[in-house]
Subunit: 356 residues, 2 copies
C-alpha cells in the first residue's frame, strides 16, 4: 500500500530530464555537467530515491550477492560460530554493498541439486562452503559450474581451490606434545566420523604426536562418535572402562570434551588431576566447565572476514589456487590438564611434578 517507492522514471519526470541522464548523473559519468549532476543528486536524496537492486543487478550482469551454505546439523547444540562467521562475511560484503544470502540445502532436494539451482539461477556470484567432507562433492560441483567459491576448512586434496582453515593436525601434535611433557604415555583420542576432513586431520595430528614422542599407537585408544556432548560422554566411557585406561584424553571438539568430563565425573575421576582432558575450539563456554576446560583455541574471530575478502578477490578474477590460508591454534591452559599421577589405574609411570 502507499505509493511504490520512487523509481528512476519518477525522479526523471520530477527533474524534467530523461532517465538516462539521471542515471548517468547519479553514477558520475563525465558527460554530465556538474550543475545538473548536483541538482540530480540533491533531488535524489530529497525524494529518498534508491535504485531497485533487482533491476540494477539484472542490468549490471552480476547479482552482487554471495551465499553462505549453513552446515546442516543444528538442534540443541547449535553452531556457535555461525553467527561470528556471518558477521565477518557481512563486514567484508558491506564495503561493496553486496548482499549475503544464507541457504541450508533443502532437505527434499538434496545438497547438490540445490546448489546447482542456486548458481544457475544467477542469484549468487560466489559461495562459502563450511566444514567439508574428506571428499566433498560440493567442491567438484562448484568447479564444474565455474562459480567462484571458498571453503571454510579443507578437503583431502585441497590444492585447486581457495580455503581458510585452522591447522588441526598441528594443533593435535601440540596437544599430544603438551601431554607427553606432563608425563602421559597413554593418551586416548575422542574423534568424529572420519568422513569429515577435520576429523581425519586431527586424528593424523594425534598419531603424529604419538610417534613424535615415542608413544605406541593402540587402536583401542581411538574412539569415534558424533561430535556432540553425548558422543563425547559415550566415547570417554568406553575409554575409561578399558582394562588399562588412558591417563589423558584429547577431544576433537570442545563439545565432546565437555561430554567427556561428564563421563569422568560419573566414574569419580577428577579431570585435570586423575585424567587430563584437552578439547579443541576455544569455546568461550569452556571457561565455565567443571573444571575449566583446557583447549586448543582457534582464532576464528577473523575467519568470516578473511573468507569474504578471499571470495571477493576471486570473483574479481584472482586465481583461487593462490588462496590457502592456514592459521594455527594455540593451547589455552585452563584446568583439565595436569601431570600424570600414580594412582591412575594403569601402568605406573614415574611421577613427576611438572611446572605449569
Amino acid at each position: 500500500m502507499g505509493e511504490r517507492s520512487v523509481n528512476l522514471k519518477a525522479l526523471a519526470a520530477h527533474l524534467g530530464l530523461t532517465v538516462s541522464t539521471v542515471s548517468r548523473a547519479l553514477n558520475n559519468y563525465p558527460d554530465i555537467s556538474p550543475a545538473t549532476r548536483k541538482r540530480v543528486k540533491q533531488a535524489a536524496d530529497q525524494l529518498g530515491y534508491r535504485p531497485n537492486q533487482n533491476a540494477r543487478r539484472l542490468s549490471i550482469g552480476t547479482p552482487e550477492t554471495v551465499c553462505y551454505l549453513m552446515p546442516r546439523q543444528i538442534g540443541p547444540n547449535a553452531q556457535p560460530f555461525v553467527a561470528q562467521l556471518l558477521a565477518g562475511l557481512g563486514e567484508a560484503l558491506n564495503e561493496r554493498n553486496w548482499d549475503l544470502l544464507v541457504s541450508q540445502a533443502d532437505a527434499s532436494v538434496g545438497d547438490l541439486a540445490s546448489i546447482e539451482r542456486l548458481v544457475k539461477s544467477g542469484r549468487i556470484a560466489g559461495l562459502v562452503i563450511s566444514r567439508p567432507l574428506k571428499n566433498d562433492p560440493r567442491v567438484k560441483l562448484m568447479q564444474s559450474l565455474g562459480c567462484p567459491f571458498v571453503v571454510h576448512g579443507r578437503t583431502e586434496k585441497s590444492d585447486d581451490y581457495a580455503w581458510y582453515d585452522v591447522d588441526g593436525e598441528d594443533a593435535f601434535v601440540t596437544a599430544v606434545n603438551h601431554l607427553a611433557r606432563l608425563g602421559h604415555r597413554r593418551i586416548g583420542f575422542i574423534g568424529a566420523p572420519l568422513q569429515y576432513q577435520f576429523a581425519q586431520e586431527r586424528l593424523d595430528g594425534y598419531m603424529r604426536g604419538l610417534s613424535h614422542n615415542g608413544l605406541a599407537q593402540a587402536p583401542e585408544l581411538v574412539q569415534i562418535a558424533e561430535f556432540t556432548d553425548e558422543g563425547g560422554t559415550a566415547a570417554a566411557g568406553l575409554l575409561m572402562d578399558l582394562a588399562v585406561h588412558p591417563t589423558a584424553l584429547v577431544c576433537v571438539t570442545d563439545m565432546m570434551a565437555l561430554g567427556a568430563l561428564e563421563a569422568l565425573h560419573a566414574r569419580g575421576i577428577m579431570p585435570g588431576k586423575d585424567v587430563s582432558v584437552i578439547g579443541y575450539d576455544g569455546l568461550h563456554f569452556g571457561k565455565h566447565a567443571h573444571p575449566p576446560l583446557t583447549t586448543m583455541a582457534q582464532p576464528q574471530a577473523h575467519a568470516g572476514r578473511r573468507l569474504g575478502d578471499m571470495l571477493l578477490s576471486i570473483i574479481d578474477g584472482a586465481d583461487p589456487t593462490k588462496f590457502h590460508e592456514l592459521q594455527r591454534a594455540h593451547l589455552v591452559q585452563r584446568s583439565t590438564d595436569g601431570p600424570v599421577t600414580g594412582n591412575a589405574g594403569q601402568i605406573n609411570v614415574s611421577e613427576r611434578e611438572d611446572s605449569r
Copy 2:
C-alpha cells in the same frame, strides 16, 4: 568463462519457439497445448535451464526474499541462537523457494538508514527484527515504510505489529516462586540494561514475584550489567559483598548466570548449596557448568519457523496485529538451586526442608 547458463532465449531458439511461448509453457498457462508443454519442459531440464531470478523477480514485482537483521553484539560469546533461528526461517522460506538475506546494519551508516535503504531498494519483501529495545525506532520505521515485518521479542507497547516472544515476566515470576518455596527471602536480580525490553520484562517479573510472595523489594538487590559472563561476575560480586547478601540470584541470561557462578566460587560460596542461582535461556552448555546450571528454558527450537510463517502470511496480506505468539519458559532444575541454609551470612530465616 564458460558459456553463460542457458537463458530463455537460448531455450526458445533450441525449440524453435518464441520466448513467450516457452515461458508460458513452463508456467503452466492453459493456452499451451499439452504436447508442446511437455516438449518444452523436457528440453528445459535436459538443458538444465533455470530462470534468472533477478529478471524473474523484477518482472514479477516481488523480490521473494526476506531479511534477518542480525543483532549487533558478537565477539567471543557469540549468539548461539542465531544459527537455530536462521535454520527455522530458512525452512519456512524454502517451501516457497524464497531467499533469506542476513544483514547487520553497516556501522558506518547506522541501523535506521541501512534498513531504509534495504527496503527502498526493493531487495526484500519482509524483515525479521531481533531483540528489540523498549522503544525501538526500527519498528516505527518499518511501519512508516509500510514494509511487512515481524519481531523476535517485543517492545514496550506491542499491539500494532506481529511478534513472537517468550514470556520473560512469567518466567521470572516462576523462578522467584520456586526460590521462595525453597525458603529464600532475600533474592538478588542480575539484569541487563533496561533499554532492552526483555531486560525490563524480566525485572518486572522479578518484582511481581517478590510481592506475590510477600517479599520486600530492596533497590540494592538489583544489579544491572552488560549481558556477558563478565557482566554477571561483576554484578554477582556486588551483590555478594553486600552487608547482608542475598541467598539466591536470578539472572537475566544463562551467560550472566555462568559469570555469577564464578563470583561465588571466588568467594568460596557453593552455588546451589550456600546460594542458589537461576539463569534464563536453557542453554545446552549450562549442563556442563559447575555445578550444572538451573535455568528457565525457552522453547526456541521453533522460533525461526514460526517467525517465518508469520512473516509470509503478513506479506500475503494478513493483518499483522493478529500475530502475537507468546510462549512460556519452563524451569529446568539442575543443581544450582536449593533450599536456603542457615549459614548464609544474613538474616536467619527458619530453615525448612522443601521437597524437590
